[in-house]
Symmetry: C2
Subunit: 421 residues, 2 copies
């Protein structure tokens, strides 16, 4: 029986043209983040199933690729549930493994620690356009820094990287804080124990609009005055740092002013320092799905492109799940696959790629001359030229067209003897 030629369901082979764009973008991200003092690290792709199913990953935990136990550990006869068959799985993100890494290696790392990760993650999502079961994430995180400097550096670094990769795109950074979200809802009289469900509704703002949110909250049975006040507050609050400070005064009964002042300070500093152009505003409706966020949250969207291209926030409670002692943590993740999709849709041109040269050598070239040709290729390569040496095919025109697709625009043809007319 023939073997299977297609990739497994939901995953894909990456062809040379896209790979070139991916490598370019990765290098831009890596170089930018290094400039900001982030240090690259790596964790295994395989993680303990206990860690992967510890409720840190929300819905992603339903999508884990689980790895079968091996050898004597696999007791198929007595296995009663899936859990009996499994002790490891593929990581669904880079944040949980980073928290494990920091817990395991913290003593050997500088404090604070600025981590850069680029790697594959796996989620067994329903296959659909633009969504794959294996995809790349590019994350930066600052661990051990409770101050706003973490947020400021993360936003500056990420916007600088995005500005380099997509220099012609206007983009927007929206920012909020989980505590401000809570404060606003409490202020309007929503009960403490209902907040999670209120935010699940609020998170749909993109899709169902203000009216939809209002309707859903009323249908859920929340007090009419609370809902009305909440909707009014959401629409009236100012979106700049001054607006955030003013909001802080309004919420002072339910929220320490340090929270709103901190957010305003982040906004002011970033606006003052950033060299990349983007608009930054406070978005009181920004929720972000993951339950592990504890403070500031942010999301970047790009003009002409639905959905976010980067997002992140502060998660000060995750490391404590490993060590028993909480440690400050804040991260920003670039939606790498989205960026690649945008760039490929636009033709996948990569700036600064060197032109490539192909030597096409007729078959049956005598040995001494072939050595000479190869030496010439080696000399050019030493000087940094990309040189492909290939046997000349019968259909030379087709061969050159195919190579043209790979970026070859210079051909040197070597014949055994002078061409006849």
């Amino acid at each position: 029986m023939a073997l299977k030629k297609k990739p497994v369901t939901g995953m894909r082979d990456i062809l040379p043209a896209e790979m070139q764009v991916r490598e370019y973008v990765m290098n831009q991200i890596r170089e930018t983040y290094r400039g900001f003092g982030f240090t690259q690290i790596e964790t295994p792709c395989v993680e303990h199933i206990e860690n992967l199913t510890s409720k840190q990953g929300g819905d992603n935990e339903k999508l884990i690729f689980k790895i079968l136990k091996r050898g004597e550990k696999l007791k198929l006869e007595t296995a009663e549930s899936e859990r009996d068959l499994v002790e490891e799985g593929l990581r669904y993100d880079l944040t949980l493994p980073l928290a494990r890494y920091y817990s395991n290696n913290g003593a050997q790392l500088p404090n604070p620690f600025k981590a850069l990760q680029m790697g594959s993650v796996w989620r067994a999502d329903k296959p659909q356009k633009g969504r794959f079961r294996q995809f790349t994430q590019c994350d930066i995180d600052i661990l051990g820094d409770a101050s706003s400097m973490a947020e400021i550096e993360l936003i500056l670094a990420t916007t600088t990287a995005l500005g380099k990769i997509c220099p012609n795109n206007a983009f927007t950074v929206r920012i909020n804080d989980r505590e401000i979200l809570r404060g606003m809802a409490l202020y309007c009289g929503f009960p403490e124990d209902s907040l999670d469900s209120v935010f699940i509704t609020l998170d749909k703002m993109d899709k169902i609009g203000t009216e939809g949110v209002e309707k859903e909250l009323l249908e859920a049975g929340y007090c009419q005055e609370s809902v009305a006040q909440y909707i009014k507050l959401l629409s009236e609050v100012g979106h700049d740092a001054a607006g955030v400070r003013k909001l802080g005064e309004m919420l002072s009964q339910v929220l320490p002013k340090a929270v709103t002042d901190g957010l305003a300070y982040i906004m002011e500093t970033v606006s003052d320092v950033a060299e990349t152009e983007f608009s930054l505003y406070f978005d009181p409706t920004l929720v972000r799905g993951m339950s592990y966020y504890t403070g500031t949250i942010f999301e970047v969207s790009m003009e002409g492109f639905g959905g976010s291209v980067a997002g992140g926030g502060r998660y000060d409670k995750m490391i404590g799940k490993f060590t028993g002692k909480d440690a400050p943590a804040c991260g920003f993740s670039i939606g790498f696959e989205r960026i690649i999709t945008i760039l490929m849709d636009r033709g996948g041109e990569v700036p600064g790629e060197q032109p490539r040269k192909a030597y096409l050598v007729e078959k049956g070239m005598d040995d001494a001359r072939f050595c000479e040709i190869m030496r010439q290729a080696m000399a050019e390569r030493k000087n940094g030229v990309q040189v492909l040496v290939a046997q000349m095919n019968k259909n030379k025109k087709f061969q050159k067209e195919q190579l043209g697709k790979e970026g070859y625009i210079e051909f040197v043809e070597f014949y055994r003897e002078a061409l006849k007319e």
Copy 2:
């Protein structure tokens, strides 16, 4: 219950110092191979279990990480064997997925296709020093080229890359051909159907020496004259191109002369063209484990370092397993993890790394001055300097020592006011 801090069995967290060396080596390999016209591609880490267990992988097939079926496909109650639970697994090498990739995408690729792959592979080996269950492979392969040009380019490219990474190491390329191996054994009278077992013994030469090989062959019951003639032939054959040609004349009854002439031609051309210094010789005892090799095989060893640092060969029958039609294929794989181990053992110094600068900012800095400091950092970063901005810790000396380990050798300290005596 606290989550697990250690990585899963046999896998490991990669710390910043090693990561720096890994990135450096990867860049060197990538740049060198690109210079030779190799094009980077990627296949999914997850592969069909049918492909992974198709006898292409030899013993590696016993070490596959298998992935549990999901949802309705998983029928635990009726599952009778492991195979019922599984339809995918993690790739154990990059060669089999490449053959699938080429079968699937060949029409869109130039012919011949020169592929470069760098990626993780997984094998559930017994954990032991220096061996890990997840490790990186760096492979180049030339698909669709039946000529010796493939071998020549692969050897030139790999030795050039190794010469750049380990410039002070003498290294040796040993070369053989599966057909010559067969020819020599047939010439000495070993029966055709015993050859695999003869080569399994021959492959132990490194460990048990000539005497050990002789003893094992005799114990296996092979004819005494055959064994004696074989051992004599192995020790007397010349190791240069001339020796290979001479061997070809001797074996002309059992082996087409084109095979030995081809190998001699590869050796002559590589010696003539190579710019990196290394010794290249014909090793009639070189077997290489994988059963998929069909022609030339080669292995690189490095002075002062046991075992091989790179290896490869021709495997013209694998693609046919996917398409029904054989296609020429030849590859070379660098033992990435071994190289990293060598470099780390020597201190892990990476040439050309830029010095890093850390700004240490005293707590409580006023807002305007902090913005000024951040703007200064952004300007330096724009000029290519790596600048870390961090809050100054109480124990400044310790902080600077820790950062020193990460390569920070320049510190700029910002205080709120003039230091008092």
